[in-house]
Symmetry: D2
Subunit: 345 residues, 4 copies
């Protein structure tokens, strides 16, 4: 039976990915699109400057875009995906939660709030139960679930695999991030052609804190942050899609390169429509993964890793994910599928 869904902030870069991913989805049926006031009342084709490299699904092109208010959502919609700018989301998401909507949100606000589940279905599905705490504290009928930042989500599945096998103590990570992560107008061409930018505002902090929440233990009341020490340096480079990351990890149990690769390879996935069969693909060839060649693996939902080697005191490796699919729209979508599977919708 179809679950009717809506998209808050449907015209932006992540919103467009939601529409692409929902096309032909077996259980989700797109029933509502919202955007800013100036887009409200237009058809989606008119409101969105569509830039995905496949045409807009024809039925979506003709859908009317509504304002981002609970009143604009048809009554029979039960699940909302949010790709609102975080400033807007902070204001607006609570209105939908008061009205009883379940919101799977990619917006960065409230990710570290103690009563908001920050979830990757394959890594910490049990954190969803924090919804009970959330409802108690906020008096909402709905539920707010967040997925992590695109740079965080790229590395966390590999960290989860290592932590499970060897207990992580410290992580140093450098990122090579694609421009799409900043939204359509986030990085100008003059900033990035023949160049790289060694800082992305707020990004380092997100990686350092969200990763510890994702790997934290939920004791029924609180998520206790993982004790590992994480430091990140975030770089923007001239790629369109796909974040590549270099990780240096120290573990309590000694890990050989081969053990570490095997831990990643065998880390268990989840049986949901948008989840890849294997969560982490580990390349033997040290020049892989590469953004342009590997970001589409598993329809953009698989994590790739490679270059696993021992350092003097730990291991180092590289990982990659498609930042606007696994790192944004696909992440929220997968959380939505988990919410349905677990009966929250």
């Amino acid at each position: 039976m179809a679950v009717r869904v809506g998209i808050l902030g449907a015209t932006g870069a992540v919103g467009q990915r939601f529409i692409q991913l929902l096309d032909d989805h077996p259980t989700f049926e797109l029933a509502a699109l919202t955007a800013s006031e100036e887009s409200a009342g237009k058809t989606y084709a008119d409101a969105a400057k569509w830039r995905v490299n496949v045409p807009i699904p024809e039925d979506v092109a003709e859908m009317e875009v509504g304002p981002t208010t609970p009143e604009a959502i048809p009554e029979d919609v039960d699940l909302l995906f949010s790709s609102l700018p975080s400033g807007v989301a902070t204001e607006v998401e609570p209105e939908f939660l008061h009205e009883g909507y379940v919101v799977s949100s990619n917006s960065s606000n409230d990710r570290m709030a103690p009563d908001v589940p920050l979830t990757i279905p394959e890594v910490n599905p049990d954190h969803l139960d924090l919804i009970e705490v959330q409802r108690d504290e906020r008096g909402w009928d709905g539920a707010l679930v967040k997925n992590p930042n695109c740079s965080t989500i790229t590395m966390v599945p590999t960290l989860a695999a290592l932590d499970e096998a060897f207990d992580l103590e410290s992580v140093r990570v450098s990122t090579l991030q694609a421009v799409s992560g900043a939204g359509y107008s986030g990085v100008t061409s003059m900033e990035i052609i023949d160049n790289a930018i060694p800082h992305i505002g707020g990004e380092e902090n997100k990686m350092e804190t969200e990763s510890r929440k994702l790997l934290g233990e939920f004791d029924g009341v609180d998520v206790n942050l993982h004790g590992m020490d994480v430091a990140a340096s975030c770089n923007r480079i001239p790629t369109i899609d796909g974040h590549l990351e270099n990780v240096f990890a120290e573990t309590a149990e000694e890990a050989t390169a081969e053990d570490a690769a095997e831990a990643m390879r065998s880390y268990e996935g989840i049986d949901l429509h948008s989840a890849p069969e294997q969560l982490i693909h580990v390349f033997e060839d040290p020049v892989r993964p590469q953004p342009r060649l590997d970001r589409e693996r598993g329809d953009g939902m698989q994590i790739s890793a490679g270059g696993v080697q021992e350092t003097g005191t730990g291991i180092k490796y590289n990982c990659l994910a498609h930042n606007t699919i696994r790192g944004a729209a696909g992440a929220s979508l997968l959380n939505g599928e988990l919410l349905v599977e677990e009966g929250w919708v």
Copy 2:
């Protein structure tokens, strides 16, 4: 009084930089150019596919290129710069040394040989005295001096500053390297447009070993490698020139971000023609240094740093240098100036 110099391997990308940098040099006078057999006998303009963005100096354009043999070098030439491919250099450099030439070489062979000085004039000029050991062991009249790899030289001045002030214990470094570091044909366009490559063969090992030799202590007989633990991940990105690096360092003495920045800023330079007035420029703005904007600082010879911050257990920062100037031709040239200054030529 002019020192007459020659360039071994003058037609390649680094060779072209040598020619650009020697144009108008106050003391070095270009007197010999060598290349492979097929170029020998041609004028330089015919032999080299010139790709620097200023025209070939007119007098050099008409010079005849000779084969890479000692007989092809005029008698009055006393200093040679080498930018031969390392496979060729391994074979050929010794011939010049037997004939008594002083060779300042950018080629990667023999950099870690115990009796070969690996030198950055501002960092370890005293290592030049290893030439005495070299002459004793090899029976050469000449002298072979190497400069480090371009990715090593970008970070080592900053590490030297930190080591002097706080004693380095461990270094984790990720590089974002320009394509020119691989030579003119080293990276194809299909490999790198909209992409990044997370591995550069041999480069990680160079960074991990050369840095420890450069910061090692010379006791009059041997260079004792520095005891710090270094691990590197090397990435190629779509930039033309300028290597950017993210460094995570742990020190024995506690260093605040401000102390670390100050240690870099005040690290002493050297008074040689091609040396920048200030060795390390430290930006306050965390989005700097950037390859396209900052690689030309100090005519390509200054190191830039920025983003200095404390991590839980150490500091992190970014650094940048022009890889074919400070990281190659300019490095050899500066070593040549030091060799003259110290009386080895």
Copy 3:
């Protein structure tokens, strides 16, 4: 019933596209792969440096690659696709033709030979009958059919539409071509990052001659070249796939912009598996087509056009096609489908 096919030169960039396109083809069954001597005997996975952004089809990965000789082709294979370098193809293609194979070739040799059909199925399918002439003249049992160069094929469908409606007299065309058109190693990164190259050897001549053969009239014996005057300037730019072209055309009959756009839009396609439903998509938005956004239209087989406007004396417009699909492997494949349809296989 399946037609068993082989690929000559299967490991290169175009060869890889053939394999991608033949995966799941409804009537063609891949039965033979050839490459150079050094690859012969290896599995395809070992012989090819696979760089398409989807994994190698698993059954193809394990196929053995043979040498490029007729003996290496299983007897029951009837149709061969050729993506050999043209120098090799000149030597080797005739051997297969003597043995009776039908060869649909992307290689540039012999395209202008009077007895070799140069064919785009939607434009000049009748030229296939030149095979009769070819067999008479050469004494072959097989048949050699060529598709045009990638830059030619991008514009010719639009020219055919205009010629049909208004009679073409002169064409001036500038191309902005992707690096993949030069093969994997054809353009180095140092040549093209932050740059453009205003000349591609041989390309201009191909556009100027092949276009006139494609639009020429076949009188049963000869193809009489179209009388239009064509001049081309070919540029390489930093894009991976997709050739964009600016066309200035003068016609005998006066054409308004709207008439010209309509002539393109309504130009008839062909009913073959790999053919797009509509041959030419004409954008209203003048900023389209764009390589990254539009090269995948119609699975890479549709031609896009846009910016149709009147000049003082004619019209101008832009067109685009995926150069390694519609412009190479897909072009040969479509010719193969036509050969089967018309009973030549």
Copy 4:
């Protein structure tokens, strides 16, 4: 004796180029900087986000930025350079002209006004006398002189050479334009990486009209537009600086390729400080000029050409210029030098 000059709109991309070019100018002394209200009162270093790849001249960094009003200009300033956005310039430039200032403007407003000289010093210096007409008509004490658009100025010197020698009848031109031509934020990275855009709003019309005014004859009262027929297609590509253009020209007198090249090579320059010794450099090598390799020729003020060939009915060739130097700030500066030389300042 120094001429004291000011820059209107000094903080933008072209404004920054003005400052770079005025540093060490032998006769112009920078005495005033203006910008928008929000920048007024700040030092230049604080007001401008400096992005040129050499540091801000130290004395300029400390200069105070004023509002863009005549009152903010010191009395002893006699020559103003304008790089205001054209919407602002339309409003504001007349205020300065009423106050008697001579303004050499790069802004696109009023370029085609009958009483405004549109000038390239080497091409149509006599058009400056239109200032008399302008003063009569407008009652200004000052004078407004414009330089053409960056894409126009790249080709017009080559057209002037051909027209002088062979009489131009028709021009078809395709441009490959750098992103800096759209200003710092004009083109987003997502629009242009691995892509090209086949339309630049207004640009084609500028090329088609400005070129005819520049080559037009001034009869003492009016500039009569040149009768040639010009059609342009303008493309944006992923280069930072340097516009490359493919020109197809038809001439009344027959021109061989060699004659055409010679006409360009020998076209006379002008003896002003910022003018290159030779106006047009013509390459023999058909792969040149290229943006990254050739845009800096003549300190960014020389025009490069190459690939001169005969077509069936005319000639074709390529040309290139640095769009923010010869095509913007350098163009206005050179007009300023001409204004001084001719006694208008």
